[in-house]
């Protein structure tokens, strides 16, 4: 532990003041406000708030549209995370060799990190466009099924899943490649000499040794797909068709900002808070063991 070197009765408070002020004013106070508001409902004329206890939560969990949104979000997040990680892990394992130009590949894989989810969505929207998109055009040779995301919920969901997976793919692949480089080649070679096949080596050595990377990428991708995909939905599908792509964050925003159901929206924020607390705890459970803050 480092010794505190400087002595000053007031300077440290001045130094932390900006951080504390922003934290209190823009994080704690609004979060507290969300929790408080979740127990209230606006009166019919919107002029005052009526205390309803857990009424908003009861309404929420009895609301078929909200439950559909929750199911869609969970399905979306798990597909994005699991498909994204599986794809990256398999490709990284196959590409794990001492080759030249890894740094260049890494650069060419990481740039999509800089693209906003909403813009990634617009790029993919065009590729999926039912009238002149490349993908429906190519699929029209194979099947007469209309891949129209304006009309079919699952196609719209596929569109936002593909966008999210694409956005995260290079990042996941780069982290797996780096993780694989850290595994001693001699371990794999010894197993190979002992007669272990490709699949067996992967299952018995590579996968377990990569589990810290997998765990880190899992929480990161879950957080991304739960919270940072708002832009994709808002810019591309707007929750539709119907409510097929109405993810939880989008619904919370829409009910609050467009529907002006403040109490109901606040209750949704509280549910999201539970999700993010769970994900952060998970992340730091693991981080505690590897880094000390």
């Amino acid at each position: 532990m480092k010794r505190a070197v400087f002595r000053n009765p007031w300077l440290p408070y001045v130094l932390v003041a900006p951080q504390v002020a922003i934290t209190l004013g823009f994080f704690f106070w609004p979060a507290f406000g969300s929790v408080r508001l979740s127990f209230y409902r606006a009166s019919p004329f919107g002029d005052r708030l009526i205390f309803v206890g857990l009424g908003n939560f009861q309404r929420l969990f009895a609301d078929a549209a909200y439950l559909r949104s929750a199911v869609t979000s969970v399905i979306f997040s798990f597909i994005v995370t699991l498909v994204g990680l599986a794809l990256a892990l398999v490709l990284a394992s196959l590409a794990n060799a001492k080759i030249r130009g890894l740094a260049l590949y890494r650069s060419l894989l990481l740039w999509p990190y800089g693209i906003a989810p909403a813009i990634a969505g617009v790029l993919w929207l065009f590729i999926f466009h039912p009238s002149y998109g490349l993908l429906p055009y190519l699929l029209s040779f194979v099947t007469s099924y209309q891949f129209n995301w304006f009309l079919k919920g699952w196609v719209a969901l596929t569109l936002i899943i593909v966008t999210a997976v694409w956005k995260q793919f290079g990042y996941n692949l780069a982290f797996y490649l780096a993780g694989l480089q850290a595994i001693e080649a001699s371990v794999l070679e010894a197993a190979s000499v002992d007669g272990a096949g490709v699949v067996r080596r992967f299952l018995a050595i590579t996968f377990p040794l990569l589990s810290p990377v997998t765990f880190f990428l899992f929480t990161l991708n879950m957080t991304f797909s739960f919270f940072d995909t708002f832009g994709i939905v808002h810019a591309v599908t707007q929750g539709g068709p119907g409510d097929a792509t109405s993810l939880l964050v989008y619904k919370a925003w829409k009910d609050g900002f467009e529907g002006l159901q403040l109490g109901l929206s606040a209750a949704q924020s509280v549910v999201l808070m539970v999700v993010v607390i769970a994900l952060t705890t998970l992340q730091f459970r693991y981080a505690e063991r590897t880094v000390t803050y």
């Binding site: 480092k2 906003a116 810019a235 925003w253």
Partner: protein
């Protein structure tokens, strides 16, 4: 192990097989990485191509995958149609202030936490930690109240200041400051340098690599933030570029959508953060590794 020792001949044979497999593995690795890079780049390539075509070419079936010559017209049209100059300026102001503000604020608090003893240090530390669990979506409704109470709706203040608290930045600097030997601060004190002088002329120069790494990550974050500017701005001229692009996305309607112009706008919006990543590659990778752990 015993099997390895059984006969050196077998080991030699295995080893040469291994070498051959490695060469083959190297080719496979290159193949997989090249295909990944190309597939990853395709949506951006496609957007660039569309942005050089006429409306007829952009909406033709089968789609044309080669660039055309309407570059200047499309980009000028996009610039005028969306008041792109203003939107890009807003994004630049927001991204730069968020990045610089976050770095300054988190550096000051990390300095206070590492180099001073003061009452309430633990509380400050935990407060900063808890902000990780309060992302924008969990404070949707009440945040707007705070911003409008302050009169910060449609201002650069509202766009940037509330995002300046940073747990990751504070942790990063705290980690780094702890690796700096105490003797340095003691020597500075003997030379009569106060804490601020020590921060300014020793700590900050030593932290340059960390500052650069954090800058890239935070600039990209500030530029691409979507839900926040959507909430705290209502007037078109205060929107950021990423949010402004959404207004261009055609939603039904009868006129032929100008996808070539939309893609030109998308390219302009995505270019700055991607350029920062490409040109500050080294710090970007450092930032990814340091901030996500």
């Amino acid at each position: 192990m015993s099997r390895v020792l059984a006969g050196t001949g077998v080991v030699a044979a295995r080893a040469s097989a291994g070498r051959r497999r490695r060469n083959w593995g190297g080719a496979l690795a290159h193949l997989i990485l090249v295909v990944s890079v190309v597939v990853l780049a395709f949506p951006l390539y496609y957007a660039l191509v569309i942005s050089t075509q006429t409306v007829e070419q952009a909406t033709s079936v089968p789609p044309t995958l080669l660039p055309s010559t309407r570059v200047l017209e499309n980009y000028v049209a996009a610039w005028q149609k969306a008041e792109m100059g203003r939107l890009l300026l807003n994004s630049a102001v927001m991204a730069l202030s968020v990045a610089v503000g976050k770095i300054a604020i988190s550096m000051l608090s990390a300095f206070a936490i590492v180099y001073f003893n003061f009452r309430g240090k633990q509380i400050v530390f935990w407060m900063i930690f808890v902000t990780l669990m309060l992302p924008v979506p969990v404070r949707i409704v009440s945040t707007y109240e705070v911003i409008s109470t302050l009169g910060w709706v449609n201002t650069y203040w509202g766009l940037s200041v509330p995002l300046m608290a940073s747990a990751t930045g504070t942790f990063l600097f705290r980690q780094f400051f702890r690796t700096i030997p105490d003797s340095l601060a003691e020597a500075a004190q003997l030379d009569g340098a106060g804490p601020l002088r020590f921060l300014w002329s020793i700590l900050i120069p030593l932290s340059m690599a960390n500052i650069a790494a954090l800058f890239v990550i935070l600039f990209v974050y500030g530029w691409n933030e979507y839900l926040w500017p959507l909430m705290v701005t209502t007037r078109g001229e205060m929107r950021t570029a990423v949010v402004g692009l959404e207004a261009l996305v055609p939603r039904g309607g009868s006129e032929l959508p100008q996808w070539n112009v939309i893609m030109a706008a998308a390219v302009m919006v995505l270019l700055p953060p991607v350029a920062v990543i490409v040109f500050m590659q080294r710090w970007f990778v450092k930032g990814l590794v340091e901030t996500e752990k």
